[in-house]
Amino acid sequence: MDLKELYRDVILDHNRQPRNFGPLVPSDAHAEGHNPLCGDRLTVWLRMSGDRIEDIRFEGKGCAISTASASLMTEAVKGKDKATVMALYGTIHALLTRQDAVPDASLGKLAALSGVREFPARVKCASLCWHTLGAALERSADPVTTE
């Protein structure tokens, strides 16, 4: 286990200074995510322009992995359409859980999350924001959990 793989500089940076942090007003949809195991909570707000995410912000309390993952996610999905975002979600999920997944270039900075898969207990921290984004995209305001 290499901690440097998990806590890469990009992760530490986005944890210390999360991008797109704080409520989005006005917004078209939001969703709350909760990981009951560690108490991580976050809210994701969206402003849509048709099928496209025009703006996205998040707020929450959580560990470095969950905060950095959410921050990186907001940067990655802004301006993208739903189908592209859902495809990215799939790629990220594979990256977090499959030992043989190779980060491809389309991931950009999100590739920094590849160290998480060596730490199975932390996969849920990294994926919480994506579950929550999925829920927000469905415009469901019900809290989702990673359980």
């Binding site: 530490l12 210390r16 560690c38 991580d40 909570r41 560990c63």
Partner: protein, 417 residues
């Protein structure tokens, strides 16, 4: 001595290195490093005498209990009932009829809520707990309140994690039917003045349950001296097996309580018209019990007494003091729970580093601690934190373990700047 003893003088005789040799799991490596186990408040490890007692029972004595004339059934029954008598002696109960085997603390409390509580409580009645309880001593009472229309009252704690005893005493009234309190808080380490609480509760006619899950591994518990009506604890926190625990209940109360679960073992006669129930304590033990668990628990009690509970507690107090002093030297570390009287538990946060990250970094160093809300979410809410990191000490921990903890926390400080 009834509750946790005031800090005893250090016993030079306590040999933690020798104790460690009784726990084979401590020899294993974790992530390539020697295991530093600082999570005994979640579950203790098992010493060889416990492992051997369970193996001996399973290898040579197993059959079902109370149900046969054949030799093995008798051997199993003897082992199981012998374990009950062992438990009785360990907590100085008046009779083994007062010792009900259950799965653990959680089941013991649910048994009291559903059998005693449901039969005795109604609208307008009150149940009093404290703000530092484990979910196991909150949720069963909330369920009972929903079922009976009674009300749950909560005595507050202060910023040190100390129970506000005066406020608890003020909340006691003739409406209070049941007072359920932890002996020791699992999230904060606070030792509660349970004898004082029991006396005051009895004065208003209430019945007292003590959640002893965190107290029993660190103190000599005498249920008669405490004067409690119910005392609940788990085997696995006492260096015994999982899936076995104890409800101590005063015989007079137990005799008047309706059975909780129905089935085999808990009956005397069954017909479709009328069923009569078995004697105490079997009336409360429906179905085939965890026989090897009880055997292992009895062996754990022998083991603890061979070391001396007071000697173990004194040793743990030294480690707790040392660790408490050392962690606060690390930048940004705050201890959560600074009561005057604590047992074994050191909960803390580190500024800029979430407990979950701490847990991962420490694990990479082979140091096992617990991170999270410790099944005490109201405590986290009170301190306005999502979680804490918690190191807890057991009979096998050493000063080297404390040093390893401090060194690993230094690493975390480095990573998170």
């Amino acid at each position: 001595m009834s509750a946790i003893a005031p800090l005893p003088t250090p016993s030079i005789a306590y040999d933690a290195e020798r104790v460690r040799r009784d726990f084979p799991i401590l020899e294993r490596l974790v992530n390539g490093r020697p295991l530093v186990y600082l999570d005994s408040a979640a579950s203790g490890q098992r010493p060889l005498p416990v492992l051997r007692a369970v193996e001996h029972y399973e290898t040579h004595c197993h059959a079902n209990v109370h149900r046969g004339v054949h030799a093995l059934s008798q051997a199993a029954t003897e082992a199981f009932e012998g374990a009950r008598e062992r438990v009785r002696r360990f907590i100085n109960a008046g009779s083994s009829r007062e010792i009900v085997f259950v799965r653990g603390t959680t089941e013991a409390i649910n048994l009291v809520a559903q059998s005693f509580g449901r039969a005795r409580l109604g609208r307008g009645d009150e149940i009093l707990i404290t703000a530092l309880e484990h979910h196991a001593n909150i949720v069963p009472w909330q369920m009972l309140c929903e079922q009976t229309g009674s009300t749950l009252k909560v005595a507050p704690i202060d910023r040190r994690g100390e129970l506000e005893l005066d406020r608890l005493l003020e909340l006691l009234s003739p409406r209070t039917r049941l007072v359920a309190v932890a002996h020791v808080s699992n999230a904060l380490g606070t030792v509660l003045p349970v004898k004082r609480i029991a006396d005051a509760a009895h004065a208003v006619g209430a019945v007292v349950l003590i959640d002893g899950a965190q107290a029993i591994p660190h103190s000599r518990v005498d249920v008669r001296e405490l004067g409690c009506d119910f005392y609940a604890f788990s085997g696995h926190k006492l260096y015994g097996p999982t899936g076995i625990g104890v409800l101590y209940a005063r015989e007079e109360l137990l005799a008047a309580m309706p059975p909780w679960q129905g089935g085999g073992d808990m009956i005397r006669t069954v017909s479709f018209e009328k069923t009569t129930y078995n004697d105490l304590p079997w009336k409360f033990e429906a179905g085939t019990p965890n026989i090897s668990g009880a055997v292992g628990l009895a062996a754990a009690m022998d083991y603890i007494e061979s070391l001396g509970v007071e000697a173990i507690a004194a040793h743990e107090q030294r480690l707790l003091k040392l660790a408490s002093a050392e962690v606060t030297r690390i930048g940004g570390v705050e201890i959560i729970g600074t009561a005057a009287h604590k047992a074994s538990v050191l909960s803390f946060t580190m500024q800029g580093c979430h407990p979950h990250d701490l847990g991962t970094i420490l694990d990479a160093e082979g140091v096992a601690i617990r991170t999270g809300h410790h099944c005490a979410m109201p405590v986290m809410t009170f301190f306005d934190i999502p979680a804490t990191a918690r190191a807890s000490f057991g009979c096998y921990n050493t000063e080297e373990d404390v040093e390893a903890l401090i060194a690993a926390l230094g690493k975390a400080r480095e990573v998170f700047g």
